[in-house]
C-alpha cells in the first residue's frame, strides 16, 4: 500500500486536488500542520491566493517543514502552488520556498476577466499530447534554470515543468476531469521515492 499523497489545505482548491487523487484511487490526506507531512509520499500545493499561503506557511511552521520534506520527497504545485515553489517572483517581493529554479510573474495575463481556457501541449502524454489548460489569474514562467525540464507549452510559454522532485503547472489540471497530470505526479514522482 502506497503512503498517502498530502494536499496542503490552508486555503484554495485543495478539495479539487483531493477529487483528482480520489479518481486515481490514490491514498490522500489534508495537510495543515508540519506533523501531518510525516507519513506522506508526496505533497500537492493547490491553487488559491499565494499571499495567503505565504502568510499561513510562516505562521504554521510549514514553510520549513515543506523545504525539509522536498529534500527527499516530491512536491507538485498548480498556479498559486507554483508561485510558492518558485525561485524568483519578478513583480512581487514575497518570500517563496525557492525549490524550483523558475522566474515567475504573478497575474501575468491580467485580472479575472482575462482568465481563459485553451489547449496546452504536453508531448509526454504520447497517446493524446494535449490537455485542457484552465488559466485563472494565472502566473507565467519567464525563465527557467538548467536543471528544469519543460513538460508542457501554451504557445511560446512553458506552462508545465519539473526538476528532480518538483512539478509545477501554471494552469489547473484539478479543475478538469482529466487525471493525467496527477497520475504522472503520483506514479512517476511520488511512487518512485526511496523513503
Amino acid at each position: 500500500m502506497m503512503k498517502p499523497v498530502g494536499v496542503l489545505a490552508l486555503q484554495g482548491d485543495f478539495a479539487r486536488h483531493m477529487d483528482s487523487l480520489k479518481r486515481l484511487r490514490c491514498p490522500r490526506k489534508l495537510i495543515r500542520w508540519p506533523e501531518d507531512l510525516e507519513t506522506c509520499a508526496g505533497l500537492i500545493l493547490p491553487g488559491g491566493e499565494s499571499t495567503t499561503f505565504v502568510n499561513l506557511l510562516g505562521k504554521t511552521g510549514l514553510k520549513k517543514a515543506i523545504c525539509d520534506f522536498a529534500e527527499k520527497s516530491p512536491v507538485m504545485g498548480t498556479c498559486a502552488g507554483l508561485i510558492i515553489l518558485a525561485g524568483e517572483i519578478v513583480n512581487d517581493n514575497m518570500e517563496t520556498l525557492g525549490l524550483i529554479d523558475i522566474r515567475v510573474e504573478r497575474n501575468a495575463y491580467g485580472r479575472q476577466v482575462d482568465s481563459f481556457t485553451d489547449t496546452v501541449h504536453v508531448p509526454m502524454f504520447e497517446d493524446k499530447p494535449v490537455f485542457e489548460g484552465v488559466f485563472i489569474r494565472a502566473p507565467r514562467i519567464h525563465a527557467y534554470g538548467g536543471d528544469v525540464m519543460s513538460l508542457g507549452r501554451h504557445g511560446q510559454d512553458v506552462v508545465m515543468a519539473r526538476n528532480r522532485r518538483i512539478l509545477v503547472c501554471t494552469f489547473h489540471p484539478e479543475l478538469t476531469s482529466d487525471t493525467r497530470v496527477h497520475r504522472y505526479f503520483v506514479e512517476e514522482m511520488a511512487g518512485k521515492t526511496d523513503s
Binding site: L10, G48, E49, R111, T117, I136, L175
Partner: protein, 297 residues
C-alpha cells in the same frame, strides 16, 4: 438566459470561486484597509464606500461605489477585488466589469434597483456572487448565472443568528432534496420555483453546483469557525473587522480560525488577546424597513 451548464466560461467563473475557498473575504473602504486585509491573509477584498454598519447608521440610497475608489483599491493589492452592484442594476454591473473587478456581488446591502428581476449574470464574463436565505433562493440565483452563493445573514449587525439560520436552511434543503424520488423532483422544483436540472445535480452530488460561502454577521474567530462547521466554504467579513477596536489583529485571527475551523485549540488561541468586537445589533431592534435580507427574492 441559458440552462445551467458548466461551459468554458462558467468553469472559469466557478474556478475563481474555488480558489477563494477556505479563506476570508474582507470589506474595505480605502487602499490602506485593503493592504491591511491582504497582509492579514485575506483571499480577496470587497471594495465599497460604506461598510454595511455605516449604511445602516446613515441611511439614504446605497449605490455602487465610485469607480475611482474601486480602482485605487485594485491598484493597492494583488489579491482579487470584488465590488457590489445593486440588485437588478445591470448597468452598474457593466461598469464594474469594464473597470475589471474580479467578482461582482449583486448585493442586498445596497438599495435594490429592480423589485422583480435580478441581473442576467450569464451575460457577463466576470463572475457573480449572490446572497440567499434558503435553497430555493440559492438555486434561482445560480439559474441566473451566479458562480458563487453566500448566505445573506443580516449585514452590518455583528450578529451571527441570521447567517446561521440561512446556512441551516440551505443545508436542510439539500438533505431534503437527497431524500426525494425522481418523480418527486419535478413537483418540488415547481414548488420551489427553481429549474429541475439543479435539483437533479443537488440530489446526485449532495451539494450546490457552485461554492457556498457565509456572510452577514461574522464578528469573531468563533463566528467564522461556526459558519465553516455548518458547511460554509469561505467567510465574508463586512463590518466585523474595521468596526472592531483592533482590525489588524482581528483580521489575522479570523483568517487563522477559518483555516483551522475544526480545531478549537487554534480558534481559542486566535481569539486570545483580541480587544472588543464590534458592538453589534439585536435583530428584533432593527426597524422592519431596514432589514436587508428581505431584499431579493
Amino acid at each position: 438566459m441559458q440552462m445551467f451548464r458548466i461551459d468554458k466560461s462558467h468553469k472559469l467563473k466557478i474556478g475563481l470561486a474555488e480558489m477563494l475557498k477556505g479563506g476570508v473575504i474582507m470589506d474595505v473602504t480605502t487602499p490602506d484597509q485593503a493592504k491591511i486585509g491582504e497582509d492579514a491573509g485575506a483571499v480577496a477584498v470587497m471594495a465599497l464606500e460604506r461598510i454595511p454598519a455605516d449604511i445602516r447608521a446613515q441611511g439614504g440610497v446605497a449605490r455602487m461605489s465610485n469607480p475611482s475608489m474601486i480602482r485605487a483599491i485594485m491598484d493597492a493589492v494583488t489579491i482579487p477585488v470584488m465590488a457590489k452592484c445593486r440588485i437588478g442594476h445591470f448597468a452598474e454591473a457593466q461598469v464594474l466589469q469594464a473597470i475589471g473587478v474580479d467578482f461582482i456581488d449583486e448585493s442586498e446591502v445596497l438599495t435594490p434597483a429592480d423589485e422583480r428581476y435580478h441581473v442576467d449574470k450569464w451575460a457577463f464574463r466576470v463572475p457573480f456572487v449572490c446572497g440567499c436565505r434558503d435553497l430555493g433562493e440559492a438555486c434561482r440565483r445560480i439559474a441566473e448565472g451566479a458562480a458563487m452563493i453566500r448566505t445573506k445573514g443580516e449585514a452590518g449587525t455583528g450578529n451571527i443568528i441570521e447567517a446561521v439560520r440561512h446556512m441551516r436552511e440551505v443545508q436542510t434543503g439539500i438533505r431534503g432534496i437527497k431524500r426525494l424520488g425522481p418523480e418527486e423532483l419535478i413537483i418540488r422544483a415547481k414548488e420551489m420555483g427553481v429549474p429541475v436540472d439543479q435539483l437533479v445535480y443537488i440530489q446526485k452530488r449532495g451539494k450546490l453546483p457552485v461554492p457556498n460561502f457565509a456572510a452577514g454577521g461574522v464578528a469573531t474567530p468563533a463566528d467564522a469557525s461556526l459558519m465553516m462547521q455548518l458547511g460554509a466554504e469561505s467567510i465574508f467579513v463586512g463590518s466585523g473587522i474595521f468596526k472592531s477596536e483592533d482590525p489588524e489583529a482581528r483580521a489575522k485571527a479570523i483568517v487563522m480560525a477559518t483555516t483551522n475551523y475544526d480545531n478549537p485549540d487554534i480558534v481559542a488561541k486566535a481569539s486570545e488577546g483580541l480587544q472588543s468586537a464590534m458592538p453589534g445589533l439585536e435583530i428584533s431592534e432593527i426597524p422592519e424597513s431596514q432589514i436587508m435580507q428581505d431584499r431579493g427574492w
